[in-house]
Point group: D2
Chain length 341, copies 4
């Protein structure tokens, strides 16, 4: 695979410093697989990293983004987990295989953060970082699983899944939330979605949501949840807003319910009233993507459920800045960069 490939690099903080570089295609070392990247999906996190320094800012220069789907085109010595020709995903937090996350200096190492990113025509990764891609999705859709898909999966499934007939609340129409709508409704849960956009609420109902709650009409959205559940509250809430909104989630929680705390749209601190959490004996669970076993299970679930991830738009590799601009505008689902031909 000798030759030259393109990849995006960031030499110093600030997305204005992104550069589409030409570099040698890497040769896989022992234990590595060389993957021709087919597609890369973007996450809200890219904005924090590219425009840092913030709490997630990585030292530049580096290759941004974490989520890719592609095909193994060569393998180094001793590789047994994948074969040439296999379609694969990269796992967001490579050292996290199962159980509680391993941390280094308090952080779980991740691609496009403390570890290399994937916005490149080829990447050469240790075989343990790769997972078989779903049979039923092309690279564009498959590339949405490693971060957004797995985050929704972990939030819903890894700490006590919602049961059929239970109520799940999701917020907005970003990638994680839409995956959660699709997965939770496939589980038989009743999904309530909050959004500030009536048209988006209609679209999310088409994905399986039972009810939309308009945040402008119901700014105290927790009251709407309580009304829609006859006062019981929601069994699982995916809190992607954070900040003071966590307090609303706490008040909307059913007895024995669980809040998956995922997002930081309102800041890096969260606040809530404790008495309702005492009375519900509820749980606030920190969620940061998930382990490799979870990704493997998600892939199997996607194939069985024929789950179809929502991609709002795709961009060519050299249009990465435009893809970021789309991300800034708040997509309905995922924004994906096509990397392969």
């Amino acid at each position: 695979m000798a030759g030259v490939m393109k990849r995006w690099e960031l030499r110093k903080p600030g997305r204005a410093n992104l550069e589409l570089a030409s570099v040698e295609i890497p040769t896989p070392k022992p234990g590595e697989a060389l993957v021709r990247v087919g597609a890369v999906s973007l996450n809200y996190r890219e904005k924090l990293i590219l425009d840092g320094p913030g709490p997630l800012a990585a030292p530049g220069p580096f290759v941004p983004t974490s989520d890719m789907a592609g095909e193994v085109v060569a393998t180094g010595e001793g590789v047994t987990r994948v074969r040439k020709g296999a379609r694969v995903l990269a796992h967001f937090s490579p050292p996290w295989l199962d159980g509680p996350p391993p941390r280094v200096d308090g952080m779980v190492p991740s691609l496009g953060g403390q570890l290399p990113g994937v916005l490149s025509e080829y990447v050469s990764f240790p075989e343990a970082w790769l997972v078989a891609a779903p049979r039923t999705l092309d690279d564009v859709k498959a590339s949405t699983l490693p971060c957004a898909g797995l985050t929704a999966w972990t939030a819903l499934m890894e700490h006590g899944a919602p049961r059929p007939g239970q109520t799940v609340v999701t917020q907005g129409t970003g990638g994680v939330s839409l995956f959660a709508v699709q997965l939770a409704s496939a589980l038989g849960a009743r999904v309530l979605v909050t959004s500030g956009d009536a048209a988006k609420l209609d679209r999310v109902k088409a994905l399986g949501a039972a009810h939309g709650i308009h945040r402008r009409e119901s700014p105290d959205w927790e009251q709407a949840v309580l009304e829609l559940t006859g006062g019981r509250g929601a069994d699982v809430i995916l809190e992607v807003v954070g900040g003071d909104d966590l307090g609303r989630s706490v008040r909307a929680l059913a007895s024995g319910g669980r809040i998956a705390l995922i997002g930081i749209l309102e800041g890096f601190d969260a606040r809530f009233p404790v008495l309702p959490l005492f009375q519900s004996h509820g749980v606030i669970q920190g969620v940061a993507v998930g382990h490799r076993r979870g990704l493997e299970e998600l892939v199997r679930a996607v194939d069985t459920l024929r789950l179809d991830p929502v991609v709002d738009a795709t961009y060519a590799l050299d249009a990465f800045p435009q893809a970021l601009a789309h991300l800034d505008r708040g997509p309905f689902g995922k924004v994906v960069v096509r990397v392969g031909a």
Copy 2:
């Protein structure tokens, strides 16, 4: 059991309005058992209720306090769960038998709150509200189990118990925290205790704690926890301070760890930084006493472990105001009112 008995009543908010009344000994209705109260233990909660109106304030006049041990002296028609002569405890949240808590208007009904209190020479309660007292404790010590003991039990055991070799953090030397020290060290956990009083830290080490952290010398106590655990953090933290202190707990948490949020000493709102909770994939669990099965299990554990609850002082029934004053000063363990002769 005809005759007159004494009990404390509150006619209007404010502990100055407490009155030691003489009333008829009740006759047990069908399904009820009449209990001669032997001892009543006090909780921080009494202060909130007596000096309300606060979020827990109950409408007066009523009989305060929730925790008693005593003896069944008569039973109403159809009673099968207890017999005359049985030594019993009252369960703090009578309708909560197992599983998630049942709520009425958002609250789990409890004795000395929405339901009658126990600071009385006799009480007549439905048999389902009673649990066999431990064989190995007298009434004074047994009376400390229903709220403080069960809260510590629930916090430690009901959502994934600490394993031998894991680290548990407790705060201060109140009733719940001392029970947690005794239970967690009996489980083989390594218990770290924070306190602002060096003499109390010595006493708590005698109860089984491995290390004391002096809050004046280590105001950032979470750093001390991280140092004492080689950077791993604590697996279970019983957060009884609340408010901003929750943020310290979040930063002190091990991967996959759990914070049992119990206390409100610093107020009814809690705040914390979300990134460390994401990275640890940790949990904040609201804890409000516990279910009846938990109390039954605690009683069995106390008998097997020969666990000896820490009682700081006992007072006679008519000295209830002095007992409250002791509570104000911050006891080491529990303050108990002896009710029987």
Copy 3:
């Protein structure tokens, strides 16, 4: 509600001794509700009880059967859990509310066993024995939930639910198995069904099963399961045959999988090879119907999923012997006796 009603009674062992008696309509005692029974569904268990003495044989004379749906027509003093006019189910094991089952002399008391049966125009039961019926089902279909429905629910949900993409195996086309097919496929699991009848396999696929395994063509059905799962095995198996068949289930189990042991068609003893269970670290879970919280959750799930229980035939009250004969022939789903007009 003064008057006379009909009910089936068994004076001594043997179904030939069944008698349709006329007795007084009972008056609800304090804490009881009088229910006009709308429908009663039958279970395999009736055969064991009526034709005993066997391990489940109850002492005669008594009223047989356990599963009914009906309407509350009067309430005794102090009843708060149900109201006149409410549509209700009776809970199969009334004292089992949540958590592990309470046993009396080793048995969990149940209706139509150690407790009164329901094959009667009216029953007067303690309010705690009743649960709200699903809004979306009539009495005939609702009557199938308390034993067959709840058994399938408990087997699937109460000890770690199958995840989307996981494989569930069910056996045959009796009531429990068909509920399991409907519930598991609604959860996103891939359901494999064994049966000795090709036509029934077609019908069960229409209910959501992914594959049928013909037991005559594949007597070693565990091999078919291993082939259909690429060697992984099944994640959850509902073993309703028992006896030596348990060994097949053990060999068909995925790593970390679970066998819900439910049935005794092949006898009261089960046998299995232990090495495959060691290697899978699998679990054999005894299942006997379930607790009241489970029934409440099942009702909510049925309403949300619009789950439509499979009733093979209905019979009038006086045709109970014919209904039993139908049960002997092995129905596809449930046999129900219509009791109300």
Copy 4:
């Protein structure tokens, strides 16, 4: 580390064919660590393997045994998990890191089985196969953890640990059972031990057991368990006998209890009556050693609890046949081969 070392090899089935060979000390490959073995503990499994062909028989010639403690004396390129000078254990099932076990052809690969054994002066293993040894144990005692210790840990802790006050039953005085006595009593459980030897029962009580049940005086040992628990039964039973004895465990089980099925002393098939398992809603859990995270947790627990494994006798490396003969006689605890000087 050039030079020659001794190791035991088996060229064809039958322990008579064991040979103490002299071979080159291996050189660690990239990713490997060279360990100077200090001690090797023996398990019942060696007998099955050496004297096979049986279900566990491995193809000869090979190096037997699985459990060693030693010191890292050299590391290959790229090793980061261990350093020269570190004291380490080998993990019994190297590919099993966490979660459900990975299987190859139905088996979880293990040392001294499908993978190399450890009865050698040096071994060179991939770094991922190694775990830090406990600080508080020498190599002889530390060598008992990887199979016997971890099996007891997994049986007790990985599927719902016994709670203080609950009852645990162990059988006999082999290595797994004695670890279980020590661990379960350190957890506050009440441990009942069965044995056919009164003197051994006395010794096991000194390790923490609450009661001994003499199997000759109480051949129906399950009755003794029921009596000692007031009819409740045992919450966790470690079944090391297997065969028909599983039926006794099933009858001795408390509601919601769990049998950890570990042993095959009575054969490779197990039998039990299903009705008691239905009524207890109990679980039979297959246990085969455990994952690497479990071993890491056990090491931490041993250090915190100061748990002192029971070693019945030690033998020199060239006395391995005598050590096997001791194993045949049924040791009290573990038999260990000292390998280092």
